[in-house]
Symmetry: C2
């Protein structure tokens, strides 16, 4: 990248931002160099995680939320995390439709992140892409994740405010309750609220919230209804995001969230790097030999791990 | 545990098996001692992973598959992995219904595993619970996971044969394609095949399979239709599991799968243990101070990681 790339990123130049994120996806020295150069310009964006099962209409909802912020004059970055394998071929129809919908608005930057190698790598690349958008002056950054697995939750949690999206009538269980992601929700949204079973889904979520022991001054997630396809209820979502942000500030919790995020990120990087060092130090043949011993039931995996670490 | 526990586990005594798995869930020295004692009796079971989104009816399907194996005279262990948080309170209604359905059959052992702490810990406990069931002489072990996140996929992958369950009409995208889990499927199942949109879901899955570049002798996952609530199509699922097993044996791939599994497990344990050792060695204050420096944007997380590892 040329000499003034960092000024171009900070000015929000879309090509410079896109190239920085691509470099981050490739990883390695260049990625670390970018983060080292921009981290001091981060910390201004309000980061919003959006998670929910496929079919809840959460991509449409994210688009509508972005439009609401645009009407309020704020610049919006969107990171759509899609753990689609190389096999199924990258960006899906939904992403292309989305591009059309918001295309031509320089105040919106959209980026899909796909799995390259491990999901751990995806989490790291997502966190770093958010830093680029933050440094590029996007006041709002939305991170959208497809699933409700722990990794997706970790990605969404990389946020100040987390929205959990449900849709009624998707089966006999509610994704958020079943997958245990209720407790990371700051705002619960039942999308597709024109569906007849919406009342039952809202009631089930409310009931679960009521089961939770309360502490004083604790944030109580609202359960909101939206119809993303018509935009109905989306302004209220944005209002509640604002209320949550104000709550975090009033209770000095922004710093606590940042600290938890920094801690998790530091642990992840150290863990990965320690393993890489061990594997560089250990004779590859020794590792393979231990694997064969486990397969042959000559040693158990914990004993093999002890041997490997000396 | 008393002196002859290992004989009791090997004899398939349900109380001994349950207690061994409970000890494994608690972790620590006792868990390692159990694994060290039983690993040499493992390697006999055919391990079947079953994954799919909530609402696909996969618990019912797992029950029906278990019944099919019982009719064939085989003993069946089921590990239902439920990443339900402590918050939502452990075993759900579905598990209790399931217990009633298969209760009283000594040839079936069912165990729900819930998240205690990290999902990484859950993956380890699940792998070890499967070893206990294997050592206890269950010829078939089914591992059922709720989600389609990478961690759930890793858990299901701890298997010789992996079933991916879909249901028609759950939204505008197909979970398996969207989440990139097609390539781990050995058998694709569209459950709730009495639903009108079943044809479209089958066609979408078949189309994706056809997109995949073929190599000679490669396994081609069948796309099967079932109605788990009536048992329809389940015998065919069990036949295809048998075909897949025969394929693995004919192409000497059982050993390759075992090796990949042992390698992944060894890496996971070493990574966890290295981190624990680092944290024991590092002054807690130093770690905290680095976190604060990251939050204050005085250092970036990669530079902090370098400092921590010296």
């Amino acid at each position: 990248m040329n000499a003034d790339w960092i000024e171009q990123v900070r000015a929000g130049n879309p090509r410079a931002v896109a190239r920085a994120i691509s470099a981050i996806e490739r990883g390695g020295e260049e990625a670390r160099h970018i983060i080292a150069a921009i981290f001091r310009f981060t910390g201004r964006a309000h980061i919003i995680g959006v998670t929910g099962a496929p079919g809840t209409g959460k991509s449409t909802l994210v688009n509508e939320i972005a439009k609401q912020y645009r009407r309020r004059g704020q610049r919006v970055g969107i990171v759509a995390v899609d753990p689609t394998s190389p096999f199924s071929g990258g960006a899906l129809l939904g992403d292309r439709l989305r591009m059309q919908d918001l295309a031509g608005d320089a105040g919106v930057f959209i980026r899909s992140m796909a799995t390259r190698g491990s999901l751990g790598g995806l989490a790291a690349a997502t966190a770093d892409a958010v830093k680029v958008l933050d440094a590029a002056g996007f006041e709002i950054v939305l991170i959208e994740t497809v699933g409700a697995g722990q990794n997706e939750v970790d990605i969404a949690r990389n946020a100040h405010t987390t929205l959990v999206v449900e849709a009624p009538g998707m089966g006999d269980d509610i994704q958020a309750i079943k997958a245990g992601i209720m407790e990371i929700a700051d705002v619960l949204i039942v999308n597709k609220a024109d569906h007849e079973e919406v009342g039952a889904t809202v009631a089930a979520l409310e009931m679960n919230l009521n089961l939770k022991p309360k502490t004083e001054n604790e944030w109580r997630p609202p359960v909101l209804k939206t119809i993303a396809t018509t935009g109905q209820g989306v302004a209220e979502v944005v209002e509640w995001i604002g209320k949550h942000r104000a709550y975090l500030q009033a209770h000095h919790l922004i710093h606590a969230r940042e600290r938890a995020r920094a801690r998790a990120e530091l642990e992840r990087i150290v863990q990965h790097e320690l393993m890489a060092r061990l594997l560089r130090g250990v004779n590859g043949t020794k590792f393979d030999a231990l694997v064969e011993q486990i397969v042959a039931r000559e040693t158990d995996v914990y004993a093999a791990a002890e041997q490997l670490m000396g």
